[in-house]
Amino acid sequence: MNRGDPLRPLLRAAGEWLNGDGPDGDGPAGEPLRLVRRAYEVAAHWHDGQRRHSGDPYVTHPLAVAVILAEQGVRDHEILCAALLHDVLDDTACPEAELAEFGEDVMALLRGFRALDDPGGLPPDRRDLADERVLALKLADRLHNLRTARFLPEAKRARKARETLELYVPAAGRAGLEQVGEELRRLATANLPGNGPYRLVRAGAVLLPRHARTRYLEEWLAELHAIPGRRERRRFAAGLLLGMPSLAAALGRWDVTRWARALRALRGRIGTGPGRG
């Protein structure tokens, strides 16, 4: 690798194994690296002229996703290829047949990745049959998007942050990517408007039935967003927390042990005062 090699960060993160002969040890030496390089070339070709919100050339994103995976110790050139190519099918005119050279496994990863984004599909933590590798790719993708979220419009940032806390952080635990999960949690929390109060409300909302929880959290996120002062936001959040058992009861679910557990976790972290909430 030379200094001007755009793949340098990936090669450094991956280490020596990429120069070997593949996970099964049955390919010709250097074949994994050849495919990864080729995947980068194809991605750079199709994303040519596209830019990220940050203004960077678009291909820096799939490359960064591949680097994240390599840093997590993923020793699998197919998933690195899929990472490099993950936005080519949806965001460029590239036909699927163009990618056949990468083999059926890479194609399956890309198809699985797209299926996760299908609005009719299940969220990542509920797809019990989802390939763990697809999940890892999705998590790395979200992680890089959050790392660069400061360039996104605020509403989109808040939506991504909320979705990350509710779905991706638990999924990272399941995929065994704790480090990624921890960074996702930290970034998502920092990207929530008025994140402290929202975090409190989110924790209290475990009492609500699942379908109602999503609705109310979204509703309260918007209300917290609309309250100008930090103190007022805290009051509103604290009031919501205190009313959570009666909301759960109104919605047909009241489970005292769950509430006690949530309350113990929150004790001492909220201040309730007069005024709204």
């Binding site: 939506r159 609705r215 979204e218 918007a222 209300e223 919501l240 009313g243 959570m244």
Partner: protein, 113 residues
């Protein structure tokens, strides 16, 4: 659904009054908290009960309304025609039971039916 009317507690009456002040108008939760002078922890459970009884309906605001402004979408509440009729009766009864004069707007709602 055990009964078809909520318990007419004072907070429930306050929320109904807030909704009935302008029955056709959609309001978000925070606005109703302010109008009723009650915390969210009191208002949302009441709204949930009223919604289950069909007295209140709610909807998300249109994407065009919030996406351009760059903020999360809000949920709007409105009293249903059925809820308005029964809500007025219930609040009026509560006034009478406290031997207080029933406000005119409850007896002759301003032009709306």
């Amino acid at each position: 659904m055990k009964s078809n009317a909520p318990r007419m507690t004072l907070p429930t009456q306050a929320v109904l009054r807030a909704l009935l002040a302008d029955p056709a108008r959609e309001r978000y939760g925070l606005e109703l908290c302010d109008l009723a002078g009650l915390p969210g922890g009191t208002v949302y459970p009441i709204l949930a009960r009223l919604e289950r009884l069909g007295w209140v309906e709610s909807r998300w605001e249109e994407p065009s309304a919030h996406e351009e402004a760059g903020r999360p979408r809000r949920r709007y509440y409105r009293i249903t025609p059925d809820g308005a009729e029964r809500g007025r009766d219930a609040v009026a009864r509560a006034y009478r039971s406290r031997r207080q004069p029933v406000p005119a707007w409850l007896l002759h709602p301003g032009g709306t039916s």
